[in-house]
């Protein structure tokens, strides 16, 4: 698919296939089109040409909320909490709108997720009072609450410490073991390389390299894109 902003080609004829249950890494320097790509997949933006097929179904003309209901969930690079709500309430939104659960049942399941992600003691805290790290965890927790089959994590680990990165990685590994396909966008190379089975590197809206993590780091194009000529 392709996506332009005015005369600027953010994505030009990018083609990617992700297998069910895969752990897929998406890397590339700043401005290479990673976030645009997942914005198109999740429906925040509409792609101009090409198609997006999820589970055998063309979804590229569906509004974002319907894609979420079909099983595509995402976190945002810049956290976008529902700031007027408590942490727990943030998770109730997807529970009520994706799975149509009653509030009592939704709260029970939301607490379960918060325990797993380590935010249980903050459940009643207004989300406007969270730290950066907690906000990132909330992003992930809210995406998990939508019960996705494909989870797109957009730099969920930016700004986290080493042990926190490990924590989040473990959560993502667990989700994957439970059968959820995961696309990870990350600048922390160590994390992407450890996590992904397959990595694609974008540069200036094009795929410059695709393969196993070990091969990617050795690829001269990738090194050039990141370090300059």
């Amino acid at each position: 698919m392709s996506k332009h902003f005015g005369g600027f080609a953010a994505l030009s004829e990018v083609s990617i296939a992700i297998a069910p249950g895969e752990r897929f890494g998406l890397i590339g320097p700043n401005g290479s089109g990673k976030t645009t790509l997942i914005n198109c997949i999740s429906g925040t933006l509409r792609n101009e040409s090409g198609s997006i097929v999820f589970d055998g179904e063309e979804v590229s003309r569906l509004p974002a909320y319907q894609r979420t209901r079909k099983g595509i969930a995402r976190s945002f690079q810049v956290p976008r909490p529902f700031a007027s709500m408590s942490v727990l309430e943030n998770l109730l939104v997807p529970y009520e709108y994706v799975e149509h659960l009653k509030q009592s049942e939704a709260e029970k399941q939301a607490m379960e997720i918060l325990r797993r992600i380590g935010l249980a003691d903050k459940a009643m805290t207004p989300s406007s009072q969270l730290s950066q790290v907690e906000l990132r965890k909330l992003e992930l927790a809210r995406a998990m609450a939508a019960r996705p089959r494909l989870l797109i994590s957009d730099e969920a680990m930016a700004g986290l410490s080493g042990s926190e990165v490990d924590e989040v990685l473990k959560i993502l590994f667990d989700l994957n073991t439970a059968g959820i396909t995961i696309v990870m966008i990350e600048h922390i190379m160590q994390a992407v390389m450890r996590f992904s089975q397959r990595v694609v590197c974008l540069d200036a809206g094009r795929i410059i390299c695709e393969g196993a993590p070990a091969a990617i780091v050795k690829n001269p194009d990738v090194q050039k894109a990141y370090l300059g000529a």
């Binding site: 979420t68 209901r69 969930a73 909490p81 700031a83 007027s84 997807p94 709108y97």
Partner: protein, 310 residues
């Protein structure tokens, strides 16, 4: 349960008051104040919960009033039918305006709603059947049984309408709809990503708001025994609805009630004791004060002591 008992008690109290020998002037003034309770409550459903600022209150209110006039002139429709008609047309206008403008965000949406006032007002100015620019005198029908005169009856009608409007706002706020609307206000992208059909929810809020405002406008021609465009599509309604919600607090259904009662009463007192111009000035100063000093409104100031406010 507590809410419904107090609502019923208030409804009965209003009825009792109208049948008591209280001075006529009280009902004349209270009707205006109660109108603002309905308008502010309606405004808050879209403006407070979803964060979409609507400047077009007079359009919805005016369309309700003119619908009542048409029904009255054409079919001699009773007041209840006029109100139902006002609500219907107001709701339709809300839906239509929503369809056209709710894809716009922030200031662009607000400007579009201002345009709706001018469009509806211009239409009425050029429509002879409802009196055009000069307006139309209306002869009130006989008042219904227990009431002594028409103003007392309208007072009760508006009080009941206020209770109904608040019940609707309270339901919207406490249900999953309210949570969805707040998600829209906080971040539309994140709301969509959480499965919230943002456009549908906004349309719903805009339609309900329009219907309630239309209903609030419907008894106005009978109240004045007169209708004309300039005062019907007056920007005072914009300021009254939005100002009451901001001053009272937008996060809870109680806010617009407190704001409207306070602002409406204050306006009446100032208009009578000083002048209409000072009245506008005071509202302006109050608005600036609240926006700067207490953005959460009166409810926000007392948040710590109120168990329910979020």
């Amino acid at each position: 349960m507590k809410f419904w008992i107090s609502a019923a008690a208030l409804a009965l109290f209003a009825l009792g008051l109208a049948l008591s020998p209280v001075n006529e002037y009280f009902f004349y003034v209270s009707y205006r104040v109660l109108t603002f309770v309905v308008l502010a409550t309606a405004w808050n459903i879209l403006g407070g919960y979803a964060g979409y600022v609507n400047f077009g209150t007079p359009a919805f209110f005016g369309v309700g009033a003119y619908t009542a006039v048409v029904l009255f002139q054409w079919l001699k429709a009773p007041l209840a039918a006029q109100i139902a008609g006002g609500a219907l047309i107001g709701g339709l206008l809300g839906f239509g305006v929503g369809m056209l403008t709710l894809r716009l965000r922030g200031i662009f949406f607000a400007i579009a709603t201002v345009a709706v006032i001018f469009i509806t007002e211009t239409l009425m100015i050029n429509w002879r059947y409802v009196g055009g620019a000069t307006g139309l005198q209306l002869l009130r029908p006989e008042v219904m049984a227990p009431f002594e005169n028409y103003i007392r009856m309208l007072f009760v009608v508006m009080a009941w309408m206020g209770i109904a409007a608040v019940a609707v706002a309270r339901y919207v706020q406490d249900s999953w709809i309210g949570r969805g609307l707040r998600a829209v206000r906080d971040s539309e992208e994140a709301a969509e990503a959480s499965g919230v059909p943002t456009l549908k929810l906004k349309l719903f809020a805009c339609t309900v708001m329009g219907a309630l405002m239309g209903a609030a406008g419907a008894p106005m021609p009978m109240y004045l025994s007169f209708i004309e465009p300039a005062s019907t599509f007056n920007l005072d309604y914009t300021i009254g609805a939005l100002g009451s919600a901001i001053i009272g607090g937008m996060s809870h259904w109680l806010g617009p009630i407190i704001g409207a009662l306070l602002l409406g009463t204050l306006q009446q007192i100032i208009t009578v004791t000083i002048s209409g111009e000072v009245n506008v000035l005071v509202v302006g100063v109050l608005l600036v004060l609240f926006v700067v000093v207490a953005p959460g409104g009166i409810l926000g100031l007392f948040r710590k002591w109120l168990p329910f406010s979020r």
